[in-house]
């Protein structure tokens, strides 16, 4: 046993270990591969005035499970970079709600000065579409700005 073992060791001395000098190269290759294949979903932002709130918190939901609904001051509703009539919101929310496995979070990005009637209408449409998780998109309000006003 010991004799054959020593014989083997002597023969394979050169290729004893996996070469670790190219490990960094492999890691970089994987890194670059994933960097290139990752696609961020980008949506054009509508020009709105953001409402401010102190209780603003981060949404910990995957980006693909977040649906943006923009409501402008005039009551125009924008989704997926196009303006849509108010009655169509539920038709767009329903399939997204199913697709997300009932986890869809609607980020309601409404202008601070939009009359509430539109916000209420959108909420009703979201309910009709079956979704229940809504986030009123706000900017974090700082104490200083609050006191200054």
């Amino acid at each position: 046993m010991s004799i054959s073992n020593s014989g083997f060791q002597r023969k394979s001395k050169a290729s004893d270990q996996i070469p670790s000098s190219s490990m960094a190269d492999i890691a970089f290759l994987l890194l670059i591969f994933f960097m290139i294949t990752t696609v961020f979903r980008e949506e054009q932002e509508r020009p709105i005035e953001w409402p401010e709130a102190q209780a603003t918190q981060q949404i910990d939901e995957k980006r693909q499970n977040v649906l943006y609904v923009w409501v402008e001051r005039t009551g125009q509703v924008w989704m997926n970079d196009q303006q849509i009539p108010m009655e169509m919101v539920s038709n767009l929310v329903a399939p997204a709600w199913i697709e997300s496995g009932r986890r869809l979070v609607i980020s309601l990005r409404a202008d601070a000065r939009a009359p509430y009637r539109y916000i209420d209408a959108v909420q009703n449409e979201i309910r009709d579409g079956g979704a229940v998780y809504v986030v009123f998109a706000t900017d974090l309000e700082r104490r200083m700005t609050r006191e200054r006003r």
């Binding site: 890691a27 401010e52 918190q57 601070a112 509430y116 009123f136």
Partner: protein, 140 residues
């Protein structure tokens, strides 16, 4: 001259074995310092479709938001209305909920009131720790 050459033979090149480590260090640094703009806002959960719950008037705090920026607060079982600014809602809620832990905030907003007024009230309620909030349109 020959003696000098012999001395500096060892440190001839810049060591390249640690280059990968430096690259990784830079990579990790930028990974940590990069901040993606995340979605943020005030969370609420809408009631499910056709979900109507009867609530005793005693447990409701009516908060009516008017288009002029004032807020009218009325306790469910009383007729007294109190007109306050949206900033005062937080303090009022804290006082009211201390007296009745089952309290529900019934926020009704006038159709012409600006969205930010509702956000201010909702913000005040959430800062004060309110969890049971109902958002409705003020009718009549």
């Amino acid at each position: 001259m020959a003696i000098l050459n012999k001395k500096s033979k060892i440190t001839d090149e810049i060591p390249s074995s640690s280059m990968a480590d430096i690259a990784f260090l830079l990579l990790v640094f930028f990974l940590v310092t990069t901040v993606f703009p995340k979605d943020r806002g005030l969370r609420i959960v809408l009631p499910e479709q056709a979900e109507e719950v009867e609530i005793s008037q005693r447990n409701i705090l009516h908060i009516n938001i008017m288009p002029d920026g004032l807020v009218r607060i009325r306790r469910g079982d009383s007729q007294n209305e109190q007109t306050v600014s949206p900033r005062d809602v937080e303090g009022i809620w804290r006082i009211e909920v201390a007296q009745n832990p089952n309290l529900i905030a019934g926020v009704k907003t006038h159709p012409d009131a600006e969205h930010r007024l509702m956000i201010q009230v909702l913000d005040g309620l959430q800062v004060a720790g309110a969890e049971r909030i109902s958002l409705q349109l003020l009718e009549g």
